[in-house]
């Protein structure tokens, strides 16, 4: 067993756990969007940032990927952690106005408005990549991928052309934390005879 502190409480953790796993095991709240037990963590959304401190030294790390180690001092609610979280949530409110899930999460952390210009009201995807990872790691198909880079990055079938690799298993729709995948699911498969709504019924 590994011994570390989380918010000054000494806790035990299994070797190989991440800080997030250790924190959740001990009931410490850390928000996440791009994390799911079913797939390997990627550290994309940065909502799970925690601060490591050792004397004067401190550093912010993504708890979903940082491995536990003996003697770590982990803090989940420092001003720096809150600053990152607050800005990410505020920017997400503007980027994904169509996601009720994001609005709820933001409200939980006290972010209810955004100063930034919002995207089209329907937009819900924050390109966390969970759908892509589940399709690759669990389904084993890689029918979808992230396309382009930087501000243009988005989820779709390769080259944004409809693909028949997709078997309509719906894993991506289920794992999507913002409800965005349901909105583009049919476009990935071109003009499917059975739409997602019929599948779900």
């Amino acid at each position: 067993m590994i011994t570390l502190t989380i918010n000054d409480q000494e806790v035990k953790a299994r070797k190989g756990w991440t800080l997030l796993e250790a924190a959740r095991h001990h009931g410490v709240d850390i928000p996440t969007l791009c994390y799911h037990e079913a797939v390997a963590p990627s550290g994309a959304c940065r909502l799970c940032m925690v601060e490591l401190k050792d004397g004067d030294w401190s550093k912010l790390v993504a708890s979903c990927i940082y491995p536990v180690a003996d003697g770590l001092n982990v803090y989940t609610e420092t001003p720096k952690v809150q600053n990152v979280r607050r800005w990410v949530l505020e920017m997400l409110l503007a980027a994904c106005p169509g996601s009720e899930e994001i609005a709820t999460l933001a409200r939980r952390y006290g972010v209810t408005t955004t100063r930034f210009a919002t995207k089209s009201a329907n937009e819900a995807c924050m390109v966390c990549g969970l759908c892509v990872r589940v399709c690759e790691e669990v389904v084993g198909l890689s029918a979808i991928a992230t396309v382009d880079r930087g501000v243009h990055k988005r989820v779709g079938a390769p080259y944004l052309k409809p693909t028949d690799v997709c078997v309509a298993c719906g894993s991506c729709v289920t794992i999507c934390p913002t409800g965005a995948m349901a909105k583009i699911f049919d476009t990935v498969r071109g003009e499917p005879q059975t739409k997602l709504t019929q599948l779900q019924a």
Binding site: G43, A44, R46, I65, N83, V84, W87, M91, A95, R149
Partner: protein, 633 residues
């Protein structure tokens, strides 16, 4: 050149031992007649863009025409970048060392007739010091070169980069032969540690320590281990690594082979951005030649050590210069960085221990092995040993490539070597470290240029781009420029970078439009800190640096934008007005004729006026006016 070809053909056989290499070198040196004139033409990318290929052709034609009249037929040698890019195309006539600049193909005949045949310089092609007006004959007397200390660049501008014989004659592969015959791998690592060399790619991590950690990782995990060259130089205004790869490709290769020997690697990769076609070409030629000579591949110099390397071309992504993104790119996946909580020396390429060093770092290794770590440690200053190559660009007279000892004052680089700002005014700031670095203001012009002093000033060494700015550069605009660049170049994986850089740029856009208030500066800082703390890789976490340093040193300029609705540098279009000074205007009508809005009124030979309502502030009138009558407020 037929004669040179013969040398290569004669010896076109594998070198079986270090003695073979020495014999070949002796043979090559004996063939050189020190009195035979040589015309050295710069074929760096800058000079080639200015037409140096045509100059070479014209010189060859002129020599052919002169034929037997020339007592000693000179050779023409094409080299890598000689550094003084703003004066290109450059040629040097050896052995006199005559330095000709801005040479045109039509000058070729005169150079051959006058300099080669009669031994007299062509006066108008010589460099004239703009400060003293003095005409300077040779390269080493020019202030731009005089203050430099060329260590890594010692071969560049002297050897033909596409000819291994030239490199060997200049002492190339001696370090490799020395290491293979007289040093253990451990000795090589120890010399690199003793040299104090720090990574030239930006962060300045001690190279010896990196190698040592890799050895420790190998002890735990076993081999294979990989050695990798990071040639994905992408900072705007940076061209140090390109110059080294183009001008002295064997030095990079030799460094890599030495690293492979030290670590026991059998395979190496050179990751070079595809936008550097000449660098890739020269590296390919160099590797082909090195293999043919038995300096790369199986049983190098008969020592039993086997190592080979290959070139991977980057596909135009700035982020692939980041180590983990570079590895995923070599692995054939999209170039997305991965979290670095486990270091690359432990889990790098294909999850194996990997040593990744920058081009300039690798090129230093042969020198360190040859002359010893202590020799290198004596160069520069403690904690930042050796020399550093910088590309000097922006509002500076002598644009080009310079190599200086670490610890030199910033002002010495910009003002003495660089010749200062074109019209003699002081510079406003120097952006070091590219988009990840920061602006150092004129008030800190005596800052020593070394890793720690630059970091202390809020900037960073970075890979070595130095962008000089004067009072016509607006800090808000500079921040927007770098953020726009990084927005496009972000991989888009993590939210603070993908969303944050755009939002930060939008906040700056507001400043450029005079919108918002002083309080918005707090938002700029707070969002910048969130991006620094939150981003996944160094591209994102260093992206706010230009904004934060300009806020630190030029806060009042930001305030002027929102409080007085003025852009003091006269750059931000929404905040400036063009007017014509009636006393200075001669009524020449030049501005009125070129104005795309037709909003300049006035009769011939009478003062003109700009109708501000229609003006789009394009600045064409300002450029056009010869009488400095157009003013910007």
């Amino acid at each position: 050149m037929p004669e040179q070809q013969a040398v290569i053909d004669n010896t076109h056989q594998r070198l079986q031992s270090a003695e073979d290499l020495n014999e070949l070198r002796q043979h090559l040196c004996d063939r050189v007649d020190p009195n035979r004139p040589e015309i050295v033409v710069c074929h760096g990318t800058g000079c080639m863009a200015n037409g140096s290929t045509q100059v070479t052709e014209a010189l060859a034609a002129a020599l052919k025409k002169a034929g037997s009249e020339a007592k000693l037929m000179p050779g023409i040698k094409t080299t890598g970048c000689q550094g003084f890019c703003s004066r290109g195309p450059l040629i040097i006539i050896r052995p006199q060392g005559l330095f000709y600049q801005q040479v045109k193909p039509k000058d070729a005949e005169e150079i051959v007739q006058q300099t080669i045949m009669q031994g007299k310089p062509v006066e108008r092609l010589l460099y004239q010091d703009p400060k003293t007006g003095e005409t300077i004959h040779t390269e080493d007397e020019i202030p731009f070169y005089k203050m430099q200390q060329r260590v890594v660049l010692h071969n560049i501008g002297r050897i033909d980069p596409s000819d291994i014989a030239d490199y060997i004659a200049a002492g190339g592969y001696q370090a490799l032969a020395k290491a293979l015959t007289t040093m253990t791998p451990e000795d090589v690592v120890a010399q690199v540690e003793a040299s104090g060399l720090r990574g030239r790619g930006g962060a300045g991590f001690p190279t010896g320590r990196k190698w040592r950690s890799a050895l420790q990782a190998i002890e735990r995990k076993g081999r294979p281990v990989y050695v990798v060259v990071n040639g994905d130089e992408g900072d705007p205004g940076a061209f140090m690594d390109r110059t080294i790869m183009e001008g002295d490709p064997h030095a990079v290769l030799e460094g890599l082979i030495l690293g492979a020997y030290a670590l026991g690697a059998q395979m190496g990769y050179l990751y070079v951005r595809a936008e550097y076609p000449l660098a890739i070409k020269h590296l390919e030629i160099a590797m082909m030649q090195a293999r043919a000579y038995g300096l790369l591949g199986d049983n190098i110099l008969g020592s039993g050590f086997t190592f080979d390397a290959r070139i991977n071309r980057g596909a135009g992504a700035f982020v692939c210069g980041e180590s983990t993104a570079l590895f995923t790119s070599i692995e054939g996946k999209p170039g997305n960085p991965r979290p670095k909580y486990v270091r690359s020396v432990e889990e790098g390429l294909w999850g194996r221990p990997t040593v990744l060093n920058n081009v300039e770092t690798w090129a230093n290794i042969p020198l360190i092995v040859n002359k010893g770590g202590d020799w290198y440690a004596d160069l520069g200053v403690p904690h930042s040993t050796g020399t550093k190559v910088f590309s000097l660009v922006g509002k500076v007279n002598n644009v080009g490539l310079v190599e200086v000892p670490m610890g030199i004052k910033l002002s010495e680089i910009v003002e003495t070597i660089g010749g200062g700002v074109p019209d003699g005014r002081p510079f406003k700031a120097v952006q070091t470290g590219g988009p990840s670095g920061g602006c150092i203001p004129y008030s800190l012009k005596d800052t020593p240029v070394d890793f720690d002093s630059l970091t202390k000033a809020g900037s960073m060494m970075g890979s070595g781009a130095m962008i000089v700015m004067d009072d016509s550069d607006c800090v808000v605009d500079v921040g927007r420029y770098f953020l726009r660049f990084l927005e496009e170049e972000s991989c888009g994986k993590c939210l603070p970078c993908r969303l944050g850089l755009t939002r930060l740029r939008e906040l700056l856009d507001n400043f450029a439009k005079g919108k918002g208030s002083e309080a918005d500066i707090d938002d700029l800082i707070s969002l910048s800190e969130a991006i620094q703390d939150g981003a996944l890789c160094a591209l994102g976490s260093s992206a706010p640096n230009p904004v934060l340093t300009t806020l630190q040193y030029f806060r009042e300029e930001y305030i002027a934008h929102v409080k007085d609705k003025k852009c003091p540098a006269g750059v931000c279009k929404d905040l400036i007005t063009y007017t014509i000074d009636a006393d200075a205007c001669t009524g020449c009508t030049a501005c009125a004729r070129r104005c795309p809005q037709n909003c300049i009124r006035g009769k011939k030979k009478e003062a003109h006026i700009i109708e501000v309502g229609d003006c789009i502030r394009c600045g064409i009138c300002l450029e056009t006016c010869k009488f400095k009558a157009v003013q910007v407020d």
